[in-house]
């Protein structure tokens, strides 16, 4: 709303139909709503503002002071505010007040109201992102302020196509949301879809990015995230350049990137900074670890309870000697281990970092070893659970790695009931599910289903950037020259 009003550079001076009393009543005579009368140049002005939202200093120096010294009555020319607009109705005036504007009313036959920007900002300093760390990437993370986040994005995405569209969501309390895309790259179909979905949100209030995510994602009954939540400007910017759309929510340091497909969650900014074969290798490791984390517990259960004939004989003996002391079935054994690991994980989130290290050693090492020696779990089970959790930590995206936890337990159950056959059925089920998912109309499991070899270049592989001349299906307008590297190794020079 705020930004939309900026379009009126010359506000229309029509008669406003608001009164101070109505505004005060509508704001319930809240104590921090202050008004002040100023006489200047034979004219009475009333300034109305919410004390807690307004920067006192700005109000004093930029509005009140010039107002008292005013020679003529042209407010638009005399006051030094970033944004001045006329308030045409009570509703606009109240919304402005709640955004930290102060309302200047010129008393007279025709009461005129102006909204002047004097909002106080409590932005914290831009700091390094905590969850999505990189080795060589930028050390900048998003903050809680909408304007600052847009600034962070714009500084790394310099383009005239950079488009910002603002929405105010929520019916009882309002939240400002900005939709950002590169106009010459993004698919207009997707933008239309996103806009339509955002406009149709009629939630009472927006608490976080999760509320918006719930309202705009294609499929609700699925463990797979269809929107990428990130706290990194460089990652968002790279996605914008690929033709995706970013959603910034005021008050939230996480930015929503959409549409996200399965492989989007395995990309990190580091892939593009390191050399291509290293980036490809990391991607492969991540994908591999995803599969491992998903099916390793199930495989273990199938091995030790059904198909011990497929593991080497020596391993059978050592596994069996450890398993014979365990009174539980392998499934129960792994469940105990997984559950205690989940407890450890949940507990360590809220601990201060200095305690967390000690806690990890006590919880992980001591309890783990003691559990094996007490005969509650076997060595094999401990190794499998440890490997699984390590693989799930490899995932660069938190939500994608939590999909492993949701899918892992049913797979373990299937493996405990049917062995290998159960795993096959379970994995097939997941595959069918993945192939049915869409993200804003795009196939979710994209380079695999439907099979598209061209898109492998930036999904499971990360080919050198001059070879990526045709990007994924999500950006039909994005075209790079076929050979962007305009030189060749000098072949005329003889090696000898």
């Amino acid at each position: 709303m705020r930004r939309k009003r900026n379009k009126f550079k010359k506000p229309m001076m029509n008669q406003a139909d608001f009164s101070i009393d109505t505004i005060k009543t509508q704001l319930n005579h809240t104590s921090d709503l202050k008004d002040r009368e100023i006489h200047s140049n034979n004219q009475i002005y009333i300034i109305l503002y919410i004390n807690s939202l307004v920067d006192q200093e700005k109000l004093e120096s930029k509005i009140i002071k010039p107002l008292t010294k005013m020679e003529n009555n042209n407010i638009l020319n005399e006051l030094y505010s970033q944004e001045i607009s006329t308030a045409k109705s009570n509703k606009i005036a109240i919304n402005g007040l709640l955004d930290g504007y102060c309302l200047l009313i010129k008393k007279g036959r025709n009461s005129e109201g102006f909204l002047l920007k004097t909002n106080a900002s409590t932005d914290r300093e831009v700091s390094e992102p905590i969850i999505e760390k990189t080795i060589l990437g930028a050390k900048v993370g998003f903050v809680e302020s909408l304007d600052k986040n847009i600034f962070l994005l714009r500084t790394v995405t310099k383009s005239p196509g950079f488009t910002v569209k603002n929405y105010t969501l929520g019916s009882s309390t309002t939240t400002n949301v900005s939709l950002i895309y590169l106009d010459h790259v993004a698919d207009p179909e997707i933008i239309k879809k996103v806009e339509q979905r955002i406009k149709s949100i009629t939630l009472d209030s927006i608490r976080s990015a999760g509320d918006i995510q719930d309202c705009i994602e294609d499929h609700t009954v699925t463990p797979f995230p269809q929107l990428l939540l990130t706290e990194r400007p460089d990652r968002s910017s790279a996605n914008l350049k690929d033709g995706r759309v970013a959603l910034i929510i005021d008050g939230s340091p996480t930015v929503i990137i959409l549409p996200a497909t399965f492989m989007t969650f395995f990309q990190t900014p580091d892939d593009y900074i390191t050399r291509w074969w290293l980036g490809s290798f990391f991607r492969f490791i991540r994908l591999f670890s995803y599969i491992i984390a998903l099916i390793l517990p199930a495989l273990y259960i199938a091995f030790v309870s059904f198909h011990y004939e497929v593991i080497p004989l020596e391993l059978v003996y050592s596994l069996q000697s450890s398993l014979s002391y365990v009174p539980f079935r392998p499934f129960i054994e792994l469940m105990i281990m997984q559950l205690s690991l989940e407890l450890l994980r949940e507990a360590s989130i809220r601990l201060p970092p200095s305690v967390a290290t000690t806690f990890g050693i006590v919880g992980g090492l001591v309890v783990g070893t003691a559990m094996v020696e007490a005969g509650i779990v076997s060595y094999g089970g401990l190794i499998v659970v440890a490997l699984t959790s390590v693989s799930s930590f490899v995932q660069p995206n938190l939500e994608m790695s939590s999909s492993i936890r949701v899918l892992g337990f049913p797979l373990m159950l299937l493996a405990a009931t049917f062995g290998f056959f159960g795993i096959v059925i379970g994995v097939l089920f997941v595959l069918i599910h993945l192939s049915r998912l869409t993200s804003f109309g795009l196939p979710y499991f994209s380079p695999f289903v439907p099979l598209n070899m061209e898109d492998f270049k930036d999904t499971i592989l990360r080919v050198p950037s001059w070879m990526m001349y045709k990007h994924s299906k999500s950006s039909p307008h994005y075209k790079q020259e076929k050979q962007s590297r305009k030189w060749k190794l000098d072949e005329s020079e003889e090696p000898f």
Binding site: F418, G419, S435, V449, P450, L451
Partner: protein
């Protein structure tokens, strides 16, 4: 009813391979050997020839009715009543094929992996999977098939391993024709069952991009 979605002839090829390679292939050597002895390979070749013939006939039939599936053009050819009867028979045939595949599947699983599991559990599991997989757009089914085709390619690697075996000798095929022509022909019908699936072409053909008729035929072969 005209179909709207389209897929290429490569996809048709992939879908047909996936429909044909199935549980029937596992029982193929046993069945042909049962009837024709060491001459089973001849009957497989013959059945392959027949299949090509039938596919040609289906192709000639289907190009006359672009964008229409069997369920629509049968009514055009045979009239409303007998067309509906034919469609009904076709559906019954497909259902009985599913039953046949289910029976072989359960039999194989019971023999090799899960001897003690009751049959209805196995049926239930695969039935749920089948229904979940088939309640979606044909586009999704085709794209899933094209992904799973990668795994079919692994079968070729297995074939290479088999040929590395020392005990394989071409001379075991001799004497050719020892089991008699009649037995070979009889086992042809057995081996046809494991190649079943090509008759779904009657439906799939409507979805092919019509601009390339020849390439559609290529895909079918």
């Amino acid at each position: 009813m005209k179909v709207k979605s389209r897929f290429s002839s490569v996809n048709l090829f992939i879908v047909l391979v996936q429909t044909m390679i199935g549980v029937g292939l596992l029982s193929l050597p046993h069945q042909t050997h049962h009837a024709a002895g060491s001459d089973g390979w001849i009957s497989i070749l013959i059945s392959g020839f027949f299949i090509q013939l039938i596919v040609l006939l289906i192709w000639l039939l289907c190009i006359k009715f672009p964008n229409l599936t069997l369920f629509d053009f049968s009514k055009v050819i045979l009239g409303k009543t007998s067309g509906t009867v034919l469609n009904f028979i076709y559906i019954i045939y497909l259902l009985s094929m599913i039953c046949y595949i289910f029976i072989i599947y359960a039999d194989t699983l019971k023999r090799w992996i899960l001897p003690e599991t009751p049959g209805w559990v196995l049926f239930l599991i695969v039935f749920v999977l089948l229904i979940y997989g088939s309640i979606c757009k044909i586009k999704n089914v085709i794209s899933l098939f094209s992904f799973l085709f990668i795994f079919i390619l692994f079968l070729f690697f297995i074939t290479f391993f088999v040929y590395g075996d020392q005990s394989i000798d071409v001379r075991y095929l001799f004497p050719i024709g020892s089991s008699g022509g009649w037995n070979i022909l009889k086992s042809t019908s057995d081996s046809m069952i494991s190649f079943i699936g090509f008759e779904t072409l009657l439906i799939y053909f409507a979805f092919i991009k019509q601009s390339k008729n020849i390439s559609a035929l290529k895909g079918a072969f």
